[in-house]
């Protein structure tokens, strides 16, 4: 008898692995402390809001979200990810903010055949040669927002542009993205990563007299740069441009009114007119007492994406092929409006021009000004050999 029972139990367990799981485990590793914490916190809050609206479920299954802080260190992120993959055996991973951290944790996730839904980091490597069936990006490819700014600056007829960015690979990608669409004269200035005082650079900008300035300084660096830029009186002679990362709610909250008049690019804005977005913005404000940033919208979309895919495969998370198909199909309504996934699992979508000004309630915030690109894909998809 005992033997037969064991066989039965084993058979049941086997069956279980083919049929529906009883819950969904999501590993969320993000930057929740240090200077870059604002970004990770927004992604987390957006993600949690979606799960809350879905009554704590993803695709009808109870969701368990395991959250860990990577302290903006690839090493720490790698450890936390290993723990989630090997000990907690999560079904999905998400949350990473910074591309260098994504590149550090990616290989282990893919090797483990776990789906990674990136709610922010969109490194060129994973869009091109190293594209992977288990990697999806629900935000953008890193270059996209820079490309959009380049297009705007080109179209507006600026001739002499100065670029300020930290001396690290992300900064160099920003420059190449910008120059892909801006063909005029540029002068590039590379600063120390994590630099807080830009007095020396501002003096040089004053001397060089560019007609426009494009900067990509993520997190606290951008906050300081804009503050000091305005205080030095340069805003009267030079028009500021930045990708959406350097001009969203986190930065606006820290800088305030001096940011008014700055142009930036994004694939989403909180004033976009669609039902999903209106609900998201209203609920987010109610829940967290602040306006959502693009990071929050991306976290929210990541949760919706998992929800739709889990529902599609009827909770059968063991069937990786079916799950991949379901994710590729993108059967959820994004807060940014319609978009679809390219063959490299990166979005093909619109990009918009935003300007910072005061809204109806007198708050300093972003206002959508127009469309820069329609159905824009990234520059690396041709190098991706994934079917």
């Amino acid at each position: 008898m005992p033997t037969r029972l064991t066989v039965l139990a084993a058979a049941l367990m086997l069956a279980g692995s083919v049929h529906a799981a009883d819950k969904v485990k999501v590993g969320f590793v993000s930057t929740l402390s240090g200077p870059g914490a604002g970004l990770g916190v927004d992604i987390r809050d957006g993600f949690n809001l979606a799960v809350k609206q879905l009554n704590g479920k993803l695709g009808g299954l109870p969701a368990e979200i395991l959250i860990a802080d990577d302290q903006q260190s690839p090493d720490v992120a790698k450890q936390a990810t290993d723990k989630l993959l090997k000990r907690d055996k999560v079904d999905f991973m998400t949350g990473v903010v910074f591309s260098n951290i994504m590149l550090a944790v990616g290989p282990a996730v893919f090797q483990n055949q776990t789906f990674y839904i990136s709610a922010n980091a969109g490194p060129s490597q994973y869009a091109g040669e190293q594209c992977n069936p288990f990697f999806f990006n629900v935000a953008w490819q890193n270059d996209n927002l820079h490309e959009a700014v380049g297009k705007v600056v080109q179209d507006k007829g600026f001739k002499n542009v100065m670029i300020v960015t930290p001396n690290y690979p992300g900064g160099k990608d920003a420059v190449s993205g910008f120059k892909r669409f801006y063909k005029g004269q540029t002068e590039e200035m590379y600063t120390k990563l994590g630099q807080l005082d830009y007095a020396a650079e501002l003096a040089q900008i004053r001397a060089a007299k560019p007609d426009a300035l494009f900067f990509f300084l993520p997190g606290g660096m951008g906050i300081n740069f804009v503050k000091q830029f305005v205080a030095s009186g340069l805003s009267q002679q030079t028009q500021l441009f930045a990708p959406g990362f350097s001009a969203d709610e986190d930065v606006i909250k820290a800088v305030g009114a001096p940011m008014m008049g700055m142009f930036n690019s994004s694939h989403w804005a909180h004033d976009m007119e669609n039902a999903e977005n209106k609900r998201f913005v209203a609920e987010f404000e109610k829940e967290y007492k602040r306006l959502p940033s693009l990071y929050a919208s991306q976290g929210y979309d990541a949760a919706l994406m998992m929800d739709a895919a889990v529902r599609d495969v009827k909770g059968n998370l063991g069937d990786k092929k079916a799950l991949q198909k379901a994710l590729e199909a993108k059967r959820f309504k994004s807060v940014r409006g319609d978009f679809k996934f390219n063959s490299n699992h990166y979005p093909v979508q619109n990009y918009y021009l935003r300007a910072i000004g005061k809204d109806a309630q007198g708050r300093v915030t972003n206002k959508t000004m127009g469309t820069i690109f329609t159905n824009h894909a990234d520059a690396y998809v041709a190098q991706c050999k994934m079917k």
Partner: protein
């Protein structure tokens, strides 16, 4: 302070611990806790790095706040070898040791001209320089770091499996501890400890003090490089974060917690600190407060470190 002499119980305890460690991976597999093999490997590697600092600090009396530079350089040598297609550990590991050792030799040659606090600060300055150089070296990934997609081989054995790397790290640690233990009792070790106790006298006796210190410093750097190369293979990444001054601080904390100048100080400190991190982090988001208070308690109430609680240094 006095010369190091091994306690009588040391050998049997070390053998028992080694035997237990040899069985650990299989045990964790049985318990379906495979994740902890990687964690244990990490502890072994940090034990190695902290022990190498203990050689410099505890036996050589040189308070270096730039030890992470050699650790990080070792990691980068492994990653750069991987990038160049060299995956044979028997080549990579000695190379990492050689490069880190030579680098330490150069840093030491300049730094050892200074004393006390100035020495602490100049080693820190060199580490900061190395950090910024790697951050801006786009050829080696800059701030992103340099990934290792597939772990190296050792002889014919691939280290891709977690067990294999664990044993490799255990082997490296065991060999280094044997070396340090021999060294501490040999002429070189006695001389370097005597210099720690009374530099002026040793100089007057005609010992080439500077050269002894320099060799000790470089040897510590080389072993730190070995630890770095192993860590890069464990995490699959050599990143500039490994060279940050807080990393040097952490290694220093490990040695001090464990017990400065005790052969096992570095090992005990690494085990204690990493276990604390693992346990506290699960309970308390702000675990650094708890860790800080604990460190203060160690300074105030157990000034010689944990290793000292278990035994005396023989006079």
């Amino acid at each position: 302070m006095a010369f190091y002499r091994p306690a009588r119980w040391q050998k049997p305890v070390a053998v028992v611990v080694l035997a237990a460690l040899l069985a650990l991976p299989s045990l964790l597999e049985i318990l379906d806790q495979g994740y902890y093999i990687g964690f244990a490997t990490r502890v072994l590697i940090f034990a190695l790095a902290a022990s190498s600092l203990n050689l410099v600090l505890g036996f050589g009396g040189m308070v270096s706040l730039g030890h992470a530079a050699f650790f990080g350089v070792g990691a980068y040598v492994a990653a750069i070898c991987h990038q160049a297609g060299i995956n044979e550990g028997l080549l990579v590991l000695p190379l990492a040791m050689a490069v880190a050792g030579l680098f330490a030799l150069a840093v030491g040659a300049v730094s050892l001209r200074t004393r006390g606090v100035y020495f602490i600060m100049i080693t820190l300055a060199f580490a900061q320089m190395t950090y910024y150089l790697f951050v801006s070296a786009s050829l080696w990934g800059g701030d992103d770091g340099l990934p290792i997609y597939e772990r190296m081989r050792l002889g014919g054995i691939s280290l891709v499996g977690d067990d294999a790397l664990f044993f490799a790290a255990l082997g490296a640690l065991t060999a280094s501890m044997l070396l340090f233990s021999r060294l501490a009792q040999a002429r070189f070790g006695r001389t370097i400890q005597a210099i720690r106790e009374n530099e002026t006298r040793m100089e007057a006796l005609g010992y080439p003090v500077f050269r002894y210190r320099l060799v000790c410093f470089a040897l510590g750097g080389a072993v730190a490089g070995l630890a770095g190369a192993l860590l890069a293979n464990l995490t699959g990444l050599a990143s500039p974060n490994l060279l940050q001054w807080t990393q040097s601080g952490t290694l220093l904390v490990m040695v001090i917690i464990g017990g400065v100048g005790y052969l096992w100080g570095g090992v005990v400190g690494a085990v204690v600190l990493l276990l604390l991190e693992e346990v506290l982090l699960a309970w308390f988001d702000h675990w650094h407060i708890a860790l800080g208070l604990l460190l203060l308690a160690v300074v105030l109430f157990a000034p010689k470190g944990v290793a000292a609680l278990f035994g005396k240094r023989h006079d």
